[in-house]
């Protein structure tokens, strides 16, 4: 097993890819029987400090329908200077530049360690980074002030040649012209009227004039910079002043009313502006909003305060009158932005909901960020915002734009779909399956905003029928080609080519992934063990969860849960060892042992449960779940719990109510929250002030340890988690109590002895009950 773990880890590090099954079933039927689909998690831009980009262009397969990129899996005839495409078997001549190659003089893309390689494209114009701030002015004074400061600060973080633009909105939408001296000039739009892109461009005067002036000095930028988007170095001072002078929306808000906020139109104008000026160029629209849109297209709630914003309850009752329309509006915008390669960030800071539910697609479809906070005047927002402009080891922003992900498969596989921050480019091809999982029906997706952790789940389908299984020795290969605009404004292509095969007759110890040995597709029926061993339960859990969340967006919550349950039961039936009708005999192998537990926590997670969450929160959680990498996703599914005590070094403990002990400090990381929880005794000690006494310095250290660890997590994570420091009996302790497995509740308190843990007041089933039930169902022949 160790070898598989190593193999998985090694692959992840090198290629940023994790498959649910590292050995593939040989036919469609087999695949179906394996319950968990063949899929992978791909982190296209996984940071590879050890991988310098090559400064030339990739060599493509000459078959027009293939165009796969030369990779280490290709057969090469060094003498004839030919190479055979491993996807379509087309034989290709090497280009002239490759005349010198030989076995000893291989280009990087042919070396096995370069299964992932990055090319820098030299031709084509270099496009500047573009940042368009869309700022809500219906904020409280101090909120606005804080936001203004954050924005001003961000100017200093941008590269000097980046183009920036500013749109402010409240009741009206103002597009600020940044080039003028003296009088500051802005174009104003009414917040109630939806405008087509053409209208917006006409009204902004982008269609004809302004061009001559720009052409007068074409050297400055290859792209025509409009009056509204100017290089930061030119208008740094102007913009800083402009931001400084921003006033709260001056229109009076009478008592009992919400301010009129035209978020929908503002976004529409932002999208239209970029569409008109920089189509197909990476750009980032950053929406800062302090409340729900209350007028115009995309309005989420009316301006009457007495009518609260929709809740899940309202939605279930079909009582959210603006939701459908608003969602449609934002979807339309998101699609337009995505088409043009622009991504939309949403920074929503308010105590109440801000309409993220409706607006989520803007971030989800374009790969933008979504940040939710209580106020712009919090470190959560400030640091999160600052972190967007963090740089990597090369001094480049950790962001990429306008990416296109293309997936090529060998003929045994077809692409069923993807789940992640992407939109379909609707490129049909022979390798596209008719069955869709996630966003399907295409072999290419657009990902307008990418960062090194952005991760997509990609789902495949085995083509071969049961009676014509994949022939022995067949090897499935997949190539991921990601073209994107690097933050240094270069265009780059990252190519990852992976292959997996079945270990039919080959022992698991055999090093997978190489060419050696006899190869055949696994016959799941007879070689279950081997396949079992190649199961990546973590990846599988995340991939299943993504599918579940994806379904939850469109289906009723209970249906999704039922579907998940059924999958789990089927998996257990398939891979469990048991005697029929004897639950006690049920066993799972190591490679499956954690999977039910993941599912248990997933069922309780905010991604599938909406109880106790507002629609906005659900959207927010789901947004992040659909883009984070495997590790983070797992944390989200099953939070990590560390225990600090005098009994030993900090250790991870079970996410269980039994872990809540009086003499422990607990640190829980749910990704969205960092909770430090002092046990009853510890809390009393602290209250008594022992930590300040020199003789109890060790207690002080104990108190400090989780704080330090928490800081470490806080430093690294995006978005900044909510940091909660609480203690036994504290109101905020609910964050912990709601996550742990309720093994002890008021119902079973006395059966469990009183020594351990803290009872959770809930009717939720505990993991134990869940497992018992699962076993019973798995062994039952009724299923």
């Amino acid at each position: 097993m160790a070898t598989y773990l190593e193999f998985i880890q090694q692959n992840e590090e090198r290629d940023g890819v994790r498959f649910s099954w590292n050995v593939w079933p040989s036919s469609r039927l087999e695949a179906t029987r394996m319950v968990v689909p063949l899929a992978c998690l791909l982190t296209p831009l996984r940071e590879r400090p050890d991988l310098p980009p090559v400064q030339y262009e990739p060599v493509l397969c000459s078959r027009p329908t293939c165009k796969a990129i030369l990779n280490p899996l290709c057969q090469v005839d060094y003498r004839a200077k030919l190479w055979a495409c491993n996807f379509c078997f087309q034989r290709n001549q090497f280009p002239p530049a490759y005349t010198g190659i030989s076995e000893v003089n291989q280009p990087a893309e042919l070396m096995p360690q370069f299964s992932t390689i990055e090319y820098v494209i030299q031709r084509g114009p270099q496009s500047p980074l573009i940042f368009l701030y869309v700022v809500d002015t219906c904020l409280e004074e101090d909120d606005l002030q804080a936001l203004k400061e954050s924005l001003q600060m961000s100017l200093s973080l941008l590269p000097p040649d980046a183009l920036v633009g500013l749109i402010t909105f409240g009741r009206m939408v103002q597009v600020h012209e940044l080039s003028c001296e003296g009088i500051s000039k802005s174009f104003v739009f009414r917040g109630t009227k939806d405008l087509t892109a053409k209208q917006i461009q006409d009204m902004l005067g982008l269609t004809t004039p302004a061009m001559p002036m720009q052409q007068a000095r074409p050297q400055e930028h290859p792209f025509v910079s409009s009056r509204f988007l100017q290089p930061i170095q030119k208008i740094d001072m102007n913009l800083t002043d402009l931001l400084g002078e921003l006033q709260r929306d001056p229109w009076p808000v009478t008592q009992g009313k919400r301010p009129l906020r035209s978020t929908g139109v503002a976004l529409s104008i932002a999208v239209g502006l970029l569409e008109g000026t920089f189509p197909n160029t990476g750009a980032r629209i950053m929406l800062f909003t302090g409340g729900p849109p209350t007028q115009g297209p995309g309005m989420v709630v009316g301006d009457e305060l007495k009518v609260p914003i929709r809740s899940w309850h309202d939605i279930e009752k079909d009582n959210a009158r603006f939701m459908k329309k608003a969602t449609k509006h934002y979807e339309m915008l998101a699609n337009r932005a995505a088409t043009n390669g622009h991504c939309i960030d949403i920074y929503a800071c308010a105590l109440d909901q801000t309409g993220l539910l409706e607006m989520k697609c803007c971030a989800n479809l374009t790969g933008g960020h979504m940040v939710m906070g209580d106020s712009f005047n919090t470190s959560l927002f400030k640091q999160t915002f600052q972190r967007i402009f963090s740089k990597d080891f090369n001094g480049n922003f950790r962001m990429a734009f306008g990416a296109t992900l293309e997936v090529k498969t060998s003929r045994e596989l077809k692409i069923a779909g993807a789940v992640g921050p992407c939109v379909s480019l609707n490129v049909k091809g022979p390798c596209v399956s008719e069955n869709e999982l996630g966003v399907g029906g295409t072999s290419q997706w657009k990902i307008c905003g990418l960062d090194p952790t952005s991760t997509l789940g990609i789902y495949f389908e085995v083509v071969n029928q049961h009676n014509a299984p994949i022939p022995q020795g067949g090897r499935g290969a997949i190539q991921f080609v990601t073209q994107y605009q690097h933050s240094s404004t270069q265009r780059r292509i990252r190519v990852t080519t992976v292959a997996r095969k079945a270990r039919f007759l080959v022992s698991p110890e055999c090093k997978p992934g190489t060419n050696s040995g006899t190869v055949s597709w696994a016959d799941a029926q007879s070689h279950l063990r081997h396949i079992e061993a190649a199961f990546d339960q973590e990846a599988a859990a995340v991939l299943m969860a993504r599918l579940g969340v994806f379904r939850a967006e469109s289906e009723e919550g209970p249906d999704v849960l039922r579907w998940l349950d059924r999958q789990l039961i089927r998996l257990c039936q398939k891979f469990g060892q048991y005697n029929k009708e004897d639950p006690t005999s049920f066993r799972l192998s190591d490679s499956f042992s954690l999977y039910p537990q993941f599912m248990f926590h997933l069922r309780r997670s905010p991604f599938l449960q909406v109880f106790n969450n507002s629609p906005d929160e659900s959207s927010y959680y789901r947004h992040h779940f659909a883009r984070q990498d495997l590790t983070q996703s797992l944390i989200m599914i099953q939070p990590i719990l560390y225990s600090y005590s005098f009994h030993g070094p900090p250790e991870p403990v079970l996410l269980d109510s039994s872990s809540i002990l009086a003499d422990r400090i607990l640190l829980m990381d749910t990704f969205f929250q960092i909770v430090i929880y002092l046990g009853e005794t510890i809390a009393q000690w602290r209250k008594a002030g022992y930590q300040d006494m020199p003789e109890y310095e060790n207690f002080k250290h104990l108190l400090q340890a989780p704080l330090d660890d928490a800081q470490e997590i806080l430093q690294a994570r995006f978005p900044m988690p909510r940091y909660i420091n609480t203690e036994h009996g504290g109101s905020q302790a609910r964050f912990l109590l709601s996550k742990v497995n309720p093994s002890q509740t008021h119902n079973n308190l006395y059966t469990w002895g009183q020594e351990t843990g803290a009872p959770i007041l809930t009717d939720d089933v505990s993991l134990q009950v869940f497992m018992d039930h699962l076993k019973k169902l798995a062994v039952s022949s009724a299923c």
């Binding site: 500051s184 104003v188 902004l204 001056p250």
Partner: protein, 1119 residues
Amino acid sequence: MNVNQSAPPVPPFGQPQPVYPGYHQSSYGGQPGSTAPPTHYGAYNGPVPGYQETLAPGVSRAPPSLGAPPATTAQTPCGQAAYGQFGQGDVQNGPSSTVQMQRLSGSQPFGSAPLAPVVSQPTVLQPYGPLPTSSQVTAQLAGMQISGAMAPAPPTLGLGYGPPTSLASASGSFPNSGLYGSYSQGQAPPLSQTQGHPGAQPPQRSAPPQASSFTPPASGGPRMPSMSGPLLPGQGFGGPPVSQPNHVSSPPPQVLPPGTQMTGPPGPPPPMHSSQQPGYQLQQNGSFGPGRGPQPNYGSPYPGAPTFGSQPGPPQPLPPKRLDPDAIPSPQLNELPPQQKTRHRIDPDAIPSPIQVIEDDRNNRGSEPFVTGVRGQVPPLVTTNFLVKDQGNASPRYIRCTSYNIPCTSDMAKQAQVPLAAVIKPLARLPPEEASPYVVDHGESGPLRCNRCKAYMCPFMQFIEGGRRFQCCFCSCINDVPPQYFQHLDHTGKRVDAYDRPELSLGSYEFLATVDYCKNNKFPSPPAFIFMIDVSYNAIRSGLVRLLCEELKSLLDCLPREGRAEESAIRVGFVTYNKVLHFYNVKSSLAQPQMMVVSDVADMFVPLLDGFLVNVNESRAVITSLLDQIPEMFADTRETETVFAPVIQAGMEALKAAECAGKLFLFHTSLPIAEAPGKLKNRDDRKLINTDKEKTLFQPQTGAYQTLAKECVAQGCCVDLFLFPNQYVDVATLCVVPQLTGGSVYKYACFQVENDQERFLSDLRRDVQKVVGFDAVMRVRTSTGIRAVDFFGAFYMSNTTDVELAGLDGDKTVTVEFKHDDRLNEESGALLQCALLYTSCAGQRRLRIHNLALNCCTQLADLYRNCETDTLINYMAKFAYRGVLNSPVKTVRDALITQCAQILACYRKNCASPSSAGQLILPECMKLLPVYLNCVLKSDVLQPGAEVTTDDRAYVRQLVTSMDVAETNVFFYPRLLPLTKSPIESTTEPPAVRASEERLSDGDIYLLENGLNLFLWVGASVQQGVVQSLFSVSSFSQITSGLSILPVLDNPLSKKVRGLVDSLRAQRSRYMKLIVVKQEDKLEMLFKHFLVEDKSLSGGASYVDFLCHMHKEIRQLLS
């Protein structure tokens, strides 16, 4: 009471009357009755009604008839006889000068006298008292007659025009005729005389005038005589009578009023005088005599018309010539001389002369204040400078009526066809000597009003039951007096505190409005001015934007302020625009103004709230910076397209957002062809002129502007439009909003800074500085029997009674037409109350009330004697100018002529002494009606010349709609002032001459002005010295034609001319650009266009021709 009182006096009068034939008696009787009323005095109303009643019965009519007789001046022997009887004849003929003299001296008493009688008994008494000494009766009679003749006649004519209906209604108001008649007659005479004189010649004044006047009317040989002749005599008589002592005057007045004078005179001038009087009498007798008894008599006389015809028969020999205008080929010259010769050696141009009429009125009435205490008295002409003392009726500066004597029945009104209309200028500016209306604050309870008709407390309300209740003078409802308003009555039934309360003693006053009178039950915030500047290519290139921005910097310090307020409460905002709109945030806290561009012109809105409308002083630095930068920002613009409707919309929305009323100043250059609401096409098509489709040129292209205007009015958003077109801009459409919101339109074709800067800046300054009322609603209430039915002016009406004015300034007038809906009572007269609810420029909500009492008559002659031609023309012009929107121009013109003919024919038939049908007899008060009407018919709107653009016509049409009487007067009949005739030292304006080329001497220099244009005409053989001292060039040929500025030279002549130009400009609400025209120069064509007595190039008839035509029409009607 009244009746009784009146009754007794009658007899006495009657006695005196004997001298004069019966009619006097009647009239006198009436008056005497009035005299008795003194007791009534206490209550103005009381007495008046008394008068009327008494008079009304046969007597009153008689007097009017008297009026008529004078007309007879017509040559008829009778007329002469009359003269003889009167003695007037002597006066006039012989010592015209003396007559005048007498008049003058007498004028004062007259003035007073007439007033008294008309308005109320008391006044009557007073005047009478003094005058009568010799013989009260006669005096009174005189007064009566005079007044009657004057006032009524002219005004009615005016109304007559188009719509017969209106005519009818108008004619209806005669009730007071008796009193009025006499009264007006008195006045009339003077007028007539003057007219005659001026028309004729300077010398005329004395005797000649009369004669001349007679003759002139006959423009054609015959006409002149007939027209003026009668008048003259009348005048002559009247004149003397008026001024003089009632005695003398009395007879003359009769003559005059008769207007009928016209008829006879021509034939035998000499006899005229004598004949006139007789004529008068005759007529009176004829019509009145019968009339006296009962009205029916009237009827009889009408039918009797033929008899008249027969009467004329005798005189015919002579008259025929004169009468047949048509027959007379050449104008005055030919005919006049003969007439003159025949008559009194009167100057050929003896047809009624506007100049003479104006001059006479100035001389007669200019020196005495006009006291408004008396009901139904005709005020001096608009061209006369006079002071007004408010004693219970609104000053004529606020309200002028076509007739101050309204027929009692609608039948009468229909018969006379004289429109009954009032030209109201609610916020008129007053000369410094006159106090502006007092502001009355009734506290929280608000102004006291009648519960039923909602009329406001006014001097005519009758307090009863010891002061605990009052009876509404409009609807007769009896209301309780609220306790806090209670006051005891004195023995005359008048409140003890009447003189302490403006609303009980004055004709005009203001109430402070309570919150109930405010929109949304909220006191208004101070209004705002928004300057909206076109910054398209044309505006930049012409230098307009730079000029304007520079000017605004200083002009903003001169915003109107209330009373002695330190600074104006008005806030200002700025917008520039071309295809899109730019709003400016000029908040005081900003270092730099901020520009906000709104390009969504299809759906206009205001992008900012705070900082758009600011206090000038607080934001001065930012505003100055803005005004500095605007010309720079757009200096390179290449945008030629503009929008228009969205601009107004934006201003309106801004005011709405700021929750205030206000005014938009729009500076616009071109046809709005950019894609936006209100987009216009160039649809100028001169081919449409004189077709049925011509009216489309005056109609707006799209209904969008009406809708927009409606919204503006609802918001109290007034729009002033300054146009700077280089070509067709469709003024007809662009003016819709200013027109409906009470705004003004200024047009500067082909604007160039060098040439038009002065005019534009002057207009702009005046427009910005003038006091404006905002968000106003005007309602005219009338006493039972008549009601306001039609309104003309710059305003919007959403129902049939309320005139809504987004803005109203001191130059704007509203003309209101009245019709009968019941019989009027001679005794109680007719009351008008105009209430204007508005927001002052400091944001105070106020009610301005104007009250006016008119007499009612049962005799047509009274109507004709108490008319005012200038007002009549004002009404008729507005009526016609509105008519062109819906009817072919020809139809409108014909209707005007027909109405005028009907008015005059009715007079001739019912009031004039019988005379030859060939004689043209004009009522004294209306003797200028033909000449003025001809001017209206020849105006650019109704008969455009080749050089008049469609825009010009629409512009003028729009301007006239809200002109007051003085403006229309000079607009239609321009003033022509000879500059070198009078001694250089004289500081007064030189006497004007008639607007005819024949009056121009090529050795002289003339100024011509019509309120919009100002020409300096230089004769070809003008003295070199004059040329030198005016133009600083050595010869005529070196004068630059078209020069617009006179060089500043230090010599008396130059100073005087420039001073005169300045003073003329100061008199007008718009700056008149000077154009120097040389005789025989190209530009002279333009100048000649304004010589309105001549034939115009576009086919307009000359005065004489028109008079002939008119006469023909009348004869047709009579036969």
